[in-house]
């Protein structure tokens, strides 16, 4: 009788379908939690993973889709958004997977844990999709508040409380910077949407001082989220204190989402201002790599060491952003983040494997003898450490290779040299983990792996990815490069030349 209204399908909510799935799913998990005993929280974990995978499949369907904007330019759909959606959903699903047994053992039971994980993922996806500074800000806050809560989820552990408090205090601090930055940019350009902002850059009437103030404040705000030096100091404490799967999610998911927005704003839309911000990023990249790697040298706690390692890796990615003038830089960053995600998720999974309720075995000394007792666990950890150190043909090597070669294309010779020297220094502390594992005496006995299939699954996925992304990088490179180009396609005019 009545014809079905197809225009409803074409309505802008199609691009946000994955977001809707995650948002509704999170609430669903909360509701389901009422029905499920705390002992059965594993079922909630599986439900969470299923929902995240469903959202990921939807994103994948959108991956090839033509770049388009939704909600009158507030959200961008297309390859770039979908690439980061997949990355974030993958990180969230892996976090849930490594949490299944961990949460039960540590008494993190409850639907809140998984729901918060999904809300954080929702925020991250908004950040990736935002084509509008306010949307990006909303996503960032959604993510951050969920992460603050997750970091302090072990309510009886003072370290966890401390982690959450510090992260929250400094996070609130940087929220102020970010919001001020948005306000200044709005003041200078008359818009909060990225495309009009970009268009305004070429107008002579645009107030340069106001604009630069906004740019500077944004750099600080994002610098905090990616833990760039000197805005990094919260990271080691927060990483150490947070429940380990949450740490993994912070290292991978938060970082990916922050870079998603950071790269979109700066490399895609503020390109014409390049000379004004690449100099700051140059210094920030150099400091971040150097401080991160040097401080990691003397760490004896593995989570702290991985925190400094994560800082250093943010530095390498910043090298890629500094090289914005090179056409390949964007693809290189996206590819780097992918390899980094697999490798870090794997490394933290090994850390999870050694932890048991009431016994947080996260000191390097606890890893002694692991190779003899659990050769596969040790071999996996060795693989992840070598990938982080950038040994070919693992994922970590090609990421670095792309970024460094993009940096040379952009004539950043000295920054490249600093980066390469840093990757030499980093080999030292990554190998310390290997040494610990291969020294026979001491160490702790992890709970039998046989009883933890989810943990093994996480490890296998992470290890397979770390090898495959390095050995068969082609599809990932193509997707990464394509995704970045699709973000450029969203922008009104292409511009790649911004060298000084």
């Amino acid at each position: 009788m009545t014809q079905f209204n197809w225009s409803l399908i074409n309505f802008a909510w199609l691009p946000i379908l994955p977001l809707i799935v995650v948002a509704v799913g999170a609430m669903g998990v909360l509701l389901a939690g009422v029905q499920v005993d705390d002992e059965d929280s594993g079922a909630l974990g599986i439900l969470t993973i299923a929902l995240l995978v469903f959202a990921a499949v939807l994103s994948l369907l959108l991956f090839g889709g033509r770049p388009s904007v939704a909600f009158s330019g507030a959200l961008a759909a297309g390859g770039y958004t979908a690439y980061f959606d997949l990355l974030v959903l993958f990180a969230a699903a892996m976090t849930a997977l490594m949490s299944v047994e961990y949460a039960a053992d540590q008494g993190l039971a409850g639907a809140e844990y998984y729901a918060l994980l999904m809300f954080a993922a929702l925020g991250m996806m908004l950040m990736a999709a935002g084509d509008d500074l306010i949307v990006i800000f909303l996503g960032l806050e959604t993510m951050s508040i969920a992460i603050y809560a997750l970091a302090g989820f072990m309510r009886h552990d003072p370290r966890s409380n401390e982690a959450a408090l510090k992260y929250f205090l400094l996070g609130a601090f940087s929220t102020g910077f970010l919001l001020y930055g948005i306000a200044f940019i709005y003041g200078a350009t008359g818009s909060i949407k990225l495309e009009p902002i970009e268009a305004a850059l070429s107008r002579p009437a645009t107030d340069n001082a106001l604009l630069l103030a906004g740019v500077g404040l944004l750099l600080i705000g994002f610098g905090f989220k990616i833990a760039a030096v000197p805005f990094h100091m919260w990271a080691p404490d927060a990483y150490e204190g947070a429940p380990t799967p949450v740490t993994a999610f912070m290292a991978v998911g938060v970082k990916a989402a922050a870079f998603a927005a950071f790269v979109r704003i700066f490399m895609v839309h503020l390109g014409p201002l390049g000379p004004q911000w690449t100099m700051v990023l140059w210094v920030m990249a150099g400091l971040t790599m150097t401080v991160g790697n040097l401080a990691a040298l003397v760490q004896t706690n593995i989570k702290r060491m991985l925190a400094y390692s994560a800082i250093a890796h943010a530095g390498y990615i910043l090298v890629g952003m500094t090289a914005a003038a090179a056409p390949r830089a964007g693809g290189a960053i996206l590819y780097y983040l992918l390899g980094y995600a697999f490798t870090n998720l794997g490394a933290f999974t090994v850390v999870v494997a050694l932890e048991r309720r009431g016994a947080i075995h996260d000191n390097l000394a606890d890893y002694r003898g692991l190779a003899a007792r659990h050769p596969f666990l040790a071999a996996a950890m060795a693989l992840f450490m070598l990938s982080l150190a950038g040994v070919p043909p693992l994922a970590g090597f090609f990421g670095k290779f792309y970024i460094f070669s993009a940096a040379l294309d952009a004539h950043l010779l000295w920054l490249t040299i600093i980066a390469v020297i840093n990757s030499v220094i980093s080999a030292y502390y990554y190998l310390s983990v290997l040494i610990a594992m291969y020294v026979r005496e001491g160490g702790v006995e992890p709970a039998a792996l046989r009883t933890r299939p989810a943990l093994i699954a996480t490890l296998v996925i992470a290890a397979a990815g770390t090898v495959a992304i390095g050995l068969f990088p082609q599809p990932y490179i193509t997707s990464a490069a394509g995704a970045f180009v699709s973000a450029l396609g969203n922008a009104p005019h292409h511009h790649v030349v911004l060298s000084r």
């Binding site: 510090k166 910077f177 630069l212 004004q276 070919p392 040494i435 005496e441 082609q474 193509t478």
Partner: protein, 640 residues
């Protein structure tokens, strides 16, 4: 001319099967299965190498066999494939690596007969051989780098093999990190070439492509050449990155043989020869290569004179011999450098296996002061070690004679008389330290602990010694002086690949005279060794006492380890501990905060602060960064 030859992949596949088998099945399959599989796969790889070699000989000069396994990276115009290339140069390398490697594997069966971890040992050995074969067969720089890092990693694994001992693990890490320093040079060198070519719209990293576009590399040739040289000094243990090699001695002795003879250390020389077209563009970089080689050869030989650990003497001897190879390639005599690489693989592999045989017989004793008069009890080991010693001392007729003589001659022809002289003096030192080693272990009076029953090693160990002994004698006959029988067959085989080497015809009267001078130096070294260690064994001690400053300088290896440790180790760790970790948390920044009057409350409340973990300090650093960025933008705006 190139031909497709898919069987090349088997050269890599066999060792790869060995790795997988030994890791996953080995521990359950038992010792015999591991011995057969671990050794067999390398012999199989060698056999395929011979097959490919036969194919190559049947083709016209300058031909190559190729196979592309899969397209690896295609980013925009940049294409790189996992592809193998078997030309004259990689043929020589493949045969040396797999051939000498196979013999060392065979020997390992006997050497590791009492070790429980044999499966893991063979897995690492296979992985080592695999990595080295990837390195030599790679048709592009990126795949070469995979093998390059792979051998570094395997050396780490094998040095740290007896991992109950933390010290071994640290030595392994030292080897890896020092190699990473070299790798930094390598990767920067690759990137330099890549960007130089990209400026002309050429995107390639495979050797044929690089050579075809060599002219575009001219502007960056010196820089790229020097950066790659840094990489080469790391792998091939040259100044300034040689420090890891002597410490690499703590691994099992066959591993030392593998590192020193067939794999790893030869990588740097091979890489420079592989990139001869790049180095041909830059006489400056070439000269640096030659000088580093000459100085390293001399320097390492002096250190070898006074060491008492048998493996340590051999380690410095390796560094010294690699110096000769660098001299050779630095003088533009790429074929001569590769020739010495090959003969060195024979005699140095043999020397290490002989040392292993001695150490095995003496139940782990490595100090030459507790050896002596072993020749009667270990006749095969003695005979083969004597052959290797004569070869390394370049006694005419033995393999080392032909290759070392050629290098010295080419160096002289290239106009580097100074380096030539250094090489000749080093030849004398070589004879001195090698015969010192031989006399201290096999001759004189026995200083062996009385409870040790010295015996000759089993056939599975002595057969490899005999094979390598024959090669040490005859391996050099592939390159005879012009006019003798087949003449310079080895150079003729390599020449189309390495193209222009300087004057060929100089084997004349000058060549003969130069050879006589080098021989006199060797003879002097031998006589000195005879006087010092046979005739009057008390003399060395008296000399050491008289010239104690010099003696200690040599014993402590010129204090280079201490120096590096001070500069790099201590400095970095001091900075990391005191400035970045402890300093930033409590000391330094607090001082600034207090001093600036910003942290009034913080001053007396140590407890509370540690509970809150210095949030105010973190915020202060944050603000300082923000102020820095703000200052930059204020500056930008004001300048406008």
């Amino acid at each position: 001319m190139t031909a497709q030859f898919p069987a090349l992949a088997l050269i890599l596949l066999f060792p790869a099967i060995g790795v997988v088998f030994n890791i996953f099945v080995g521990p359950r399959a038992g010792r015999n299965a591991v011995n057969v599989a671990g050794t067999g796969v390398i012999f199989a790889a060698f056999a395929v190498g011979l097959w490919a070699f036969a194919r190559l000989l049947a083709m016209p000069a300058g031909a190559a066999l190729e196979v592309t396994l899969w397209p690896w990276i295609i980013a925009d115009q940049f294409h790189t494939a996992i592809a193998l290339r078997f030309d004259a140069l990689s043929a020589v390398m493949t045969l040396v690596v797999s051939g000498v490697g196979a013999v060392i594997h065979l020997y390992s069966i006997g050497y590791m007969a009492h070790d429980e971890d044999y499966a893991r040992y063979f897995a690492y050995m296979n992985l080592f051989a695999l990595s080295m074969l990837v390195l030599v067969l790679a048709d592009n720089l990126l795949l070469m780098f995979v093998g390059w890092e792979g051998v570094g990693l395997c050396s780490y694994l094998l040095i740290a093999f007896w991992y109950g001992n933390a010290q071994f693990a640290y030595n392994g890490r030292k080897a890896f990190v020092v190699n990473r320093v070299g790798d930094a040079g390598f990767i920067l060198g690759i990137l330099t070439m890549l960007s130089a070519l990209a400026a002309h719209g050429v995107w390639t990293l495979n050797f044929a492509g690089l050579q075809a576009h060599a002219a575009m590399l001219a502007p960056v040739a010196t820089m790229a050449g020097l950066l790659l040289l840094l990489g080469a000094t790391g792998k091939s243990a040259q100044i300034p990155l040689y420090v890891w090699l002597p410490d690499a001695m703590v691994g099992p002795t066959p591993v030392s043989a593998l590192i020193h003879a067939a794999t790893m250390v030869t990588a740097g020389v091979y890489m420079i020869a592989r990139l001869h077209f790049l180095y041909a563009l830059t006489p400056d970089a070439m000269h640096v290569v030659a000088v580093i080689g000459g100085v390293t050869a001399f320097f390492a030989a002096t250190v070898a004179l006074v060491q008492s650990d048998i493996k340590r003497v051999l380690a410095y001897s390796t560094i010294s011999q690699l110096g000769y190879m660098f001299m050779g390639v630095g003088a533009g005599a790429f074929a001569a450098g590769i020739f010495h690489l090959m003969t060195h693989a024979f005699f140095k592999g043999l020397l290490f296996l002989c040392a292993g045989s001695i150490i095995h017989a003496l139940k782990g004793e490595q100090d030459m002061n507790r050896m002596g008069a072993l020749w009667r009890r270990m006749p095969i080991t003695y005979a083969t070690m004597l052959a290797a010693t004569l070869a390394i001392c370049a006694v005419p007729g033995f393999s080392g004679y032909f290759s070392k003589d050629l290098i010295l001659e080419r160096t002289f022809e290239a106009g580097d008389e100074g380096l030539w002289l250094l090489g000749v003096i080093t030849a004398g030192l070589t004879a001195l330290y090698m015969f010192r080693l031989l006399f201290l272990t096999f001759h004189g009076t026995s200083r062996v602990a009385p409870d040790k029953h010295v015996h000759e090693s089993p056939p599975v160990m002595t057969v490899p010694l005999i094979i390598l002994g024959l090669l040490s004698v005859a391996g050099g006959w592939v390159e005879l002086p012009p006019g003798w029988l087949w003449g310079g067959a080895f150079s003729r085989f390599l020449m189309p690949v390495l193209c222009r080497s300087r004057s060929q015809a100089a084997h004349g009267a000058a060549g003969g005279a130069l050879g006589v001078v080098a021989m006199l130096a060797t003879l002097t070294g031998f006589l000195l060794a005879y006087i010092l260690y046979i005739q009057s064994p008390a003399l060395p001690g008296r000399i050491a006492a008289r010239a104690s400053a010099l003696y200690h300088l040599l014993v402590r290896k010129y204090y280079v380890d201490e120096l590096y440790n001070l500069i790099f180790g201590r400095f970095l760790f001091w900075g990391s501990t005191n400035v970045l970790s402890r300093g930033v948390d409590s000391g330094l920044i607090d001082g600034i905060v207090d001093g600036a009057g910003l942290g009034v409350e913080a001053a007396g409340e140590v407890t509370r602060r540690s509970a809150t973990g210095n949030v105010q300090v973190y915020a202060f650093v944050y603000l300082a960064g923000a102020v820095g960025i703000a200052a930059y933008y204020v500056y930008l705006v004001m300048v406008r």
